[in-house]
Amino acid sequence: MRSGSGLAAVALALATCAAASSLVLLNGCGDAGRGRQAEPAQRAASESSPKAHEAEATPAYGDAIVFGTIGDGSTLIPMLASDSSSHEYAGYLFDGLLEYDKTLSHLEPRLAQSWEVSPDGLKITFHLRRDVHWTDGQPFTARDVQFAFDTIRDPKTMTAYAEDYKQVQSFELLGDHDFSVTYEKPFAPALASWNSLMVLPRHLLEGKDINETDFSQHPVGLGSHVFESWERNTRFTLRANPDYYRGRAHVEQVVYRVIPDESTQFLELKSGGLDMMGLTPLQFRRQTSSAAFDRDFRKYRYVSNSYTYMGYNLDNPLFQDVRVRRAFTYAINKQEIVDVVLFGLGQATEGPYRPGTAWLNKNLKPYGFDPAKARALLAEAGWRDSDGDGILDKDGKPFSFKILTNQGNDQRLKTATVIQKRLRDIGIDVAVRVVEWSAFINDFIDKRRFDVIVLGWSLSLDPDQYDIWHSSKTGYKQFNFVGFKNAEVDELLEKGRRTFDEAERRRIYDRLQEILVDEQPYTFLYVPDSLPIVASRFHGIEEAPAGISWNFPQWYVPKASQKYSITP
């Protein structure tokens, strides 16, 4: 719900959404967004016109907003959470030191009011706000940051997110509200990592076992909302924090209802039991266009933060010839996939960066749909139909392989099916196989037992993609599982993380994208749109590249249209 804030957006960035929680996966996480996580936006044109809607209303406090979630959270300590609901809940309770702004291009102050990076890029000094208190009244100080920092690095803490903070050589307390961190080598993603480190109240947690503490169920925070109640697998409730340092949220109560079935969620939305949810492309196009919907709801549409790709196992001799990979990209009609799978609610993509952000290289040349060229390239690589069976062959072996994807994601399966047809058209024999998520990861991805996969990545806000493309990351359980090795890419990735200068970084990542487009270790397919729908009594919603949730505390319901009698 909260724009780019919290571990949800950054620590899990790059991770496929399926990995975040198998509950999400089951429900086909390719339907990006679902109103569960903040999604960035480019296409600011929402379907109905929110401008007109905003005209006359006066901001007011009170009322409640009800969200649906597929699965309940498990812990409210962000560094321990491994599912997206937990991160989302905790995002209301805690803040990071800084956060990306609504355009997703700059970091802006949160708990830190300012910071400086030393000229050599080794030392970052933070100056914290002095007017922030925990909701139990204790002042927030640099010791709380230090405590969170020490806790996440403690080997006894069962967190999966310690890596970025292990790069820190020393943490120096400069006063109650000032501290500095020193890195061994310049590390450009460092600054953003202080967005995802959610601070913890030292005075409540010191000396306790963070893994077992009851704090994870009854937390004290300093964020926009205060924990109210939690009925397992049913309901999670928050109240506005009256003393929130960025101004009290207008909507007084936030309720998450756990509704595991998406059809039920949609029925609840229609009958008023939910105020917001993420729509599927089908629901967006076909089921939400009546007059009643236009009156009661407003739909939004913007670019989501994930992309779907087809990845080649580069250890497989079939795909080692770059001409073959390029031929496949020519043979696939990406726009057709967007039209069929997403009902046109998405866009074809050429590289691994979010369309519309500064990091996307705008000069990338799309391959386009060109089956003739695909055939020519394959012929050049020695693939011909010598036995006249309609399937290309080479050295007596037909060109035949399997596309593998995970179960529970209908969009990926449909994508694979469209690709199967297009490749068959140029004489390639393709089978599609769907495997349950755990088996998919453990038996196929980790063991490199695949020809071609259809899968997705979420995109991080920092352009660093070292883990996905660097040749040192091809080991067991690492993320360059297609086995891409390119000396220049390695060098670029290393340089990119050591450089703070934005223009210089842009040159580096522009070049990286050129190489990726040229080499086609993946055929980059599409970026789906996020399709949230919100009850029309909520005003103050402003669409931005960060989505609609970035200014959630400013959303309000005019007094006259308040539905629930919950007042501050």
Binding site: A15, G71, A160, L267, Y564
Partner: protein, 324 residues
């Protein structure tokens, strides 16, 4: 009788050991561990983080050690702590979900019995009448329709279009601000759809069973005798035939006891009810071994006792069995 009981109970021990061991083995063999699900495809999770998590959950131990530790805890009456990040005791989680499922199932079963037995009796005593055919068609239609589909249709009609009933959940958002009577009414309203649908789709089995068992009895010589004595048809059916026809139904009741704690994953998912079915299902997906084992164990114990109870009830209702 007592020695029979003791023998049966003693037999449970090796059975339960076997069941738990096989469950443990099957679960461990399923691909993916709880740690995988927390770290897979998350570039921020280092191999060291994985190792630490594995150690924390005791997954670095050989399988027989893990099983031994689990068994040791069970013997001391401890079901362990969930692997989920909330680290709550397995018993707490089951204690939350069990009453909900139990309550719903008892309600379902009562409703089904209350409807199926009269339907069965009536159909049998009026065999081939219009009413017999009509109820037959009705219960088979109920049986043949997938319950999730009927549920969705009912939710659409009664919940969304007409707005008579709530769509999902067990209580309204403003439950706490209602009067006592209002709260009771709110609960009833929430129960109508899930219980009604379960009864509708579950009616067929039992009512057909009752019907055929009744028909069987009505063909017996002693019914002929009763009729020959000049008893009214009413007395024949309800006093003489019914008691004997109920025998097989009792068996089914006994066998349905373990079913009482197993919620239907589909119904609970569609109606957003936090019962045992969903707890078990999500635990399996998350590879939350202690919760899965806890539920399996309780299910196994109840199945065994249910069987025992069915046998005992047989003895109670059938005097012929008592002599042996």
């Amino acid at each position: 009788m007592l020695s029979y009981l003791a023998k049966r109970l003693a037999g449970f021990v090796p059975l339960l050991l076997g069941i738990s061991f096989v469950s443990f083995l099957v679960m461990a063999m399923a691909p993916g561990t709880p740690v995988d699900l927390m770290t897979d495809l998350n570039p921020k999770a280092s191999p060291e983080a994985r190792e630490r998590l594995e150690k924390y959950y005791g997954l670095d131990q050989p399988l027989y050690v893990q099983y031994g530790l689990w068994l040791g805890r069970i013997v001391r009456g401890d079901l362990g702590t969930s692997f989920s990040r909330d680290r709550r005791p397995v018993l707490d989680k089951i204690a939350e979900a069990l009453p909900i499922t139990l309550f719903l199932n008892v309600l379902d079963l009562t409703l089904i019995l209350g409807l199926a037995i009269p339907i069965g009796i009536y159909s049998a005593s009026h065999q081939y009448s219009f009413a017999d055919r009509a109820t037959t068609v009705f219960v088979f239609v109920g049986f043949a329709m997938p319950s999730f589909w009927v549920a969705l249709l009912a939710m659409m009609l009664l919940g969304e279009q007409l707005g008579w009933l709530p769509i999902s959940g067990l209580r309204s958002l403003d439950y706490d601000s209602m009067s006592l009577l209002g709260q009771a009414w709110d609960r009833v309203r929430h129960l109508i759809l899930p219980v009604g649908i379960a009864a509708l789709t579950g009616l067929a089995g039992l009512s057909r069973y009752m019907r055929s068992s009744m028909l069987e009895v009505l063909r017996q010589d002693y019914i002929q005798t009763a009729r020959a004595k000049g008893l009214s048809e009413r007395a024949v059916v309800y006093r003489h035939a019914l008691r004997n026809a109920l025998l097989p139904v009792v068996t089914i009741l006994g066998l349905s006891i373990p079913g009482l704690i197993g919620g239907s994953v589909i119904a609970e998912t569609i109606f957003a009810i936090p019962g045992m079915g969903r707890l078990f299902y999500t635990s399996v997906l998350m590879r939350d071994y202690p919760v899965v084992m806890g539920i399996t164990l309780i299910g196994a114990v109840l199945t065994l006792f249910g069987n025992l109870l069915a046998d005992l009830m047989y003895v109670a209702v059938d005097p012929r069995l008592r002599k042996r």
